[in-house]
């Protein structure tokens, strides 16, 4: 905002199309879901139009659900952390590449996104399974005696999710790196800052908006991811999305599923908006 700027309609007009679209095609379905979460369900009776908070009470009281939500956010946090730790440097390296290589590498980063989650995780299964290429390789090299369990473990889920989501981080950081003035990095170097210091003190603070954007996307996607945890994690490693999926499709207990979804959404919003605000305050300067 320009200092001394008067209150204006401009931002509202600018975001109007988006707000209108979301209001009709997002808020209405979400409101329907929220209402649904108040209903009750029985196997033979189906969904009953009662308005009670029973489902919420059930979930909040049940340690089974606690465990699942905890796991969900643990995985999401880990994935976000790794994506930031890998994706941001990668974006930086990309920027420092010369012309033809840069576009090429950028495309490779985008590559994984282009094939469906199903076949990507298929690839992972082939790689990570107990008889997969990785384990075979490690066994052949004599590095391990018994296959490492990746499939159906949290580690496997995290690895696969990183693979699926890290391009979002790279792209997002990439977009914000475009604004950096290379001379500013030079200035830091001339003052005696080594490459890591330049990264940490000069580049990083300036690309925080990009990392934040990337982290938000990654965290939200990881927390609500369905396909990857379902395929790599299996049923025993349930996360919130698979739980909702089960309730919706297998038991047809939509009210409970809707409750899970609403709780997931609320928790996500609280975490994300909270972090967003924290980061924006901490790095106020670059957000102006």
């Amino acid at each position: 905002m320009r200092a001394g700027e008067r209150w204006s309609w401009t931002p509202y007009l600018l975001s109007l199309p988006g707000i209108a679209l979301c209001a009709v095609f997002l808020l209405v379905p979400l409101a329907m879901t929220a209402l649904l979460s108040l209903n009750s369900f029985s196997f033979y009776g189906g969904i009953a139009d009662v308005w009670k908070l029973d489902n919420y009470a059930d979930i909040l009281a049940d340690s089974y659900f606690h465990e699942i939500f905890l796991r969900t956010f643990r995985i999401a946090a880990l994935v976000t952390l790794f994506c930031a730790a890998l994706g941001a440097p990668q974006a930086y390296i990309l920027r420092r590449m010369t012309a033809p290589w840069r576009s090429l590498c950028l495309l490779i980063v985008l590559g994984p996104l282009l094939i469906s989650v199903v076949s990507r995780t298929l690839g992972w299964a082939l790689l990570l399974g107990s008889t997969g290429l990785l384990n075979q390789g490690l066994l052949a090299l004599g590095l391990i005696a018994t296959p490492i369990e990746f499939m159906y473990t949290e580690t496997g889920v995290v690895i696969a999710l990183i693979h699926v989501l890290v391009p979002f981080m790279v792209l997002s950081v990439w977009a914000s790196l475009q604004r950096l003035d290379p001379q500013v990095e030079n200035a830091a170097m001339s003052l005696g800052a080594g490459p890591t210091t330049v990264l940490r003190r000069i580049v990083f603070p300036q690309i925080v908006p990009g990392i934040l954007s990337g982290s938000i996307i990654v965290f939200a996607l990881a927390a609500s991811a369905f396909a990857t945890p379902a395929i790599i994690g299996g049923r025993r490693l349930k996360v919130a999305a698979t739980l909702a999926y089960d309730e919706f499709l297998n038991t047809l207990n939509w009210p409970l599923g809707a409750t899970v979804a609403i709780l997931l959404l609320l928790a996500n919003i609280v975490i994300i908006v909270g972090c967003n605000r924290l980061v924006e305050r901490r790095y106020k300067q670059v957000f102006e």
Binding site: Q183, V184, A187, M189, S190, G194, Q206, E288
Partner: protein
């Protein structure tokens, strides 16, 4: 032993040679100015010394050590960028403190030094401000303070004072000179302000199209330019056609209706004479007569444009209260024979 040696330094951008086999030796504690028209390769040269651009050919040694082998952050020099290159996410004070932090200066010392440096550039009360909220000149001064505070052995200054007013510029010049004297800092200064270069430098290096034209003390370069480019670039010059003749009293040159004895040895025939505007004065007789076309006030001096039979001439006179001609007035201008350079006509073309 020479301190900094640039040896056949060359930088080519795609299809463009920005710096062309530039060789230069700088002594420790010297202040050297790089002068030259816009785009002649001054910034490029500094960037190579600082290590931000890799030369295509040539070597740089500092204190006998190969500088090109070192990474930019290990070269230990200070640089003020033409575009300032301030850290946008740090306050003025944080900007200045950065180099000290890199040198592990303790907190207390650092704060003190930062405060001193900001005070030096007249920004004592601006420490908390972010660059975005500062005026152009204020930003430039932060950049200067940032480079000065680390007290580097070699300081590269790329038009460090271009956005400061005369008063401030003068103060900064004095400060630079003081630091250079007291700390013994070697400085390479790029400036477009000739009086600044003249006033500050031990030697000036005149560049054109990436090539060195002359390396000399300011006065030498000014009074005895190595070639027409330097003569023209440093200060203004009046070039008048004349006829060199061998007379009884010796060689002389006839310009329109006036005549001057020639002190150099020039073959008779069509010739030209060059004389700087500030060496010309308004005389009562034995001069070239003309009419003042324009008089322009320039503060400490006046600039006159005088139309004479030999062509239009520029004359500079000090604004010292003496009587000076008005526009449209008929005047006579003259100069001392030793202040002019005479050459055969074809050389001057």
């Amino acid at each position: 032993m020479p301190y900094l040696v640039l040896d056949q330094l060359t930088k080519r951008f795609t299809g463009w040679t920005a710096v062309d086999a530039l060789s230069l030796t700088v002594e420790q504690g010297e202040l050297i100015s790089l002068l030259g028209p816009s785009g002649c390769g001054k910034t490029t040269t500094l960037q190579m010394i600082a290590g931000f651009l890799d030369p295509n050919a040539g070597r740089i040694t500092l204190n006998g050590q190969d500088l090109l082998a070192k990474k930019p952050n290990e070269r230990g020099l200070g640089i003020v960028f033409q575009s300032y290159a301030l850290f946008p996410h740090m306050t003025a004070a944080e900007n200045v403190a950065f180099g000290l932090e890199m040198r592990n200066v303790t907190r207390a010392d650092r704060d003190r030094m930062v405060a001193d440096a900001l005070k030096l550039v007249g920004l004592d009360s601006y420490g908390d401000r972010y660059p975005r909220r500062m005026s152009g000149g204020q930003q430039q001064r932060v950049a200067l303070a940032r480079a000065l505070v680390i007290k580097p052995n070699l300081l590269l200054l790329d038009e460090p004072l271009s956005n400061l007013d005369a008063k401030m510029r003068e103060e900064m010049q004095i400060e630079l000179r003081r630091i250079q004297r007291s700390v013994g800092t070697t400085m390479i200064l790029v400036t477009h302000d000739q009086s600044e270069a003249m006033a500050l430098s031990d030697r000036v290096v005149v560049l054109n199209k990436g090539r060195i034209q002359q390396v000399a003390t300011p006065q030498e370069a000014y009074d005895r330019p190595a070639n027409a480019f330097v003569a023209n670039f440093l200060g203004r010059t009046n070039l008048l056609p004349g006829l060199v003749e061998q007379t009884a009293q010796g060689v002389s040159i006839a310009v329109a209706d006036a005549r001057w004895p020639v002190l150099q040895s020039v073959p008779p025939g069509p010739g030209a004479l060059a004389v700087r505007p500030e060496k010309i004065s308004f005389v009562a007789e034995a001069g070239l007569s003309g009419i003042v076309q324009a008089r322009v006030f320039q503060g400490t001096q006046w600039l006159f444009e005088v139309e004479t039979a030999a062509g239009r001439m520029m004359v500079i006179r000090q604004h010292d209260g003496g009587v000076l001609p008005n526009e449209r007035e008929r005047v006579m201008v003259g100069w001392r024979p030793e202040d002019m350079a005479v050459m055969p006509a074809q050389e001057a073309a």
